[in-house]
């Protein structure tokens, strides 16, 4: 086997070519695990709210014990979808410039979704 040209330090840190190591993978799996719990909560919430009128929906969403897990769900889901879509882009978009644009667009979209949802929940919670 050919002798590796990587320095011992780089090999020990195991960060790989992108310099990020397994961070991306771990974020994917960690948010996958938190998503399970938070999405179960979310489905229960939506089922409970089905068909309810505005005042009832707002009265339930503004409760801290509803708003807090809902906010956690938003953070977990948007992180997960950002990482997941990046993998899809890197798999299928091979033109370098287009790939970078798509990855940037992915970040913009995930950030916009996260912020719009967080703002709305907080506004309802703070009595908006």
């Amino acid at each position: 086997m050919a002798k590796s040209i990587r320095t011992p330090g780089a090999r020990v840190r195991g960060l790989g070519a992108a310099g990020e190591g397994t961070g991306h993978f771990l974020l994917q799996r960690m948010t996958a695990a938190s998503n399970i719990l938070l999405i179960l909560f979310f489905i229960g919430l939506v089922v409970a709210l089905a068909g309810e009128d505005y005042l009832t929906v707002v009265a339930i969403l503004e409760r801290p014990l509803v708003a807090i897990p809902f906010l956690l769900a938003i953070v977990s889901v948007t992180l997960h979808m950002r990482v997941g879509m990046q993998v899809i882009i890197e798999d299928y978009v091979h033109t370098e410039g287009l790939k970078i644009l798509a990855v940037i667009g992915n970040n913009f979209f995930a950030a916009a979704i996260a912020l719009a949802a967080v703002f709305s929940i907080l506004k309802i919670s703070f009595g908006g």
């Binding site: 799996r29 489905i43 505005y54 969403l61 889901v77 879509m85 899809i88 979704i113 929940i121």
Partner: protein, 132 residues
């Protein structure tokens, strides 16, 4: 980077289309498609939340849209997509512990994913209709 003409003409090795579809392969593809669909499906959630934060009129408009026949069909598909991707994810988490990786068990898990997602989706909608 421009691809040279010669490189574009190179024959590709046989790809997805030459294989007989098997359940693990189909579930793998569906997992990715449902993931991508959920990505854009978050818009449904955000529109609903922003409407609720905007006031009664905006909320009633969105409520009417989501409650229509077409809206319910979209939401039912969204529910299945979400559940299916979640069960597919649990399958991947099981594999992360190197469990059920042999072909018979992997196939069983794959069947459990699709059967489970359809069953749970129906149960969730029955629950929603009972609550309503």
């Amino acid at each position: 980077m421009a691809t040279p003409a010669l490189e574009q003409k190179r024959p590709l090795s046989p790809h997805l289309s030459v294989f007989r579809p098997i359940i693990t392969m189909v579930m793998s593809i569906v997992h990715r498609i449902t993931g991508a669909a959920l990505y854009f499906g978050t818009l449904l959630l955000v529109v609903w939340l922003v409407a609720a934060a905007s006031g009664p009129e905006a909320f009633e408009t969105v409520h009417g849209l989501y409650g229509s026949i077409l809206g319910r069909i979209v939401l039912a598909l969204y529910t299945w997509t979400l559940i299916h991707h979640m069960l597919g994810g649990i399958r991947h988490l099981i594999w992360d512990f190197q469990l059920a990786m042999d072909p018979p068990n992997a196939s069983r898990l794959a069947w459990a994913t699709i059967i489970g997602s359809v069953t749970l989706t129906i149960l969730i909608w029955i629950a929603a209709y009972i609550v309503m």
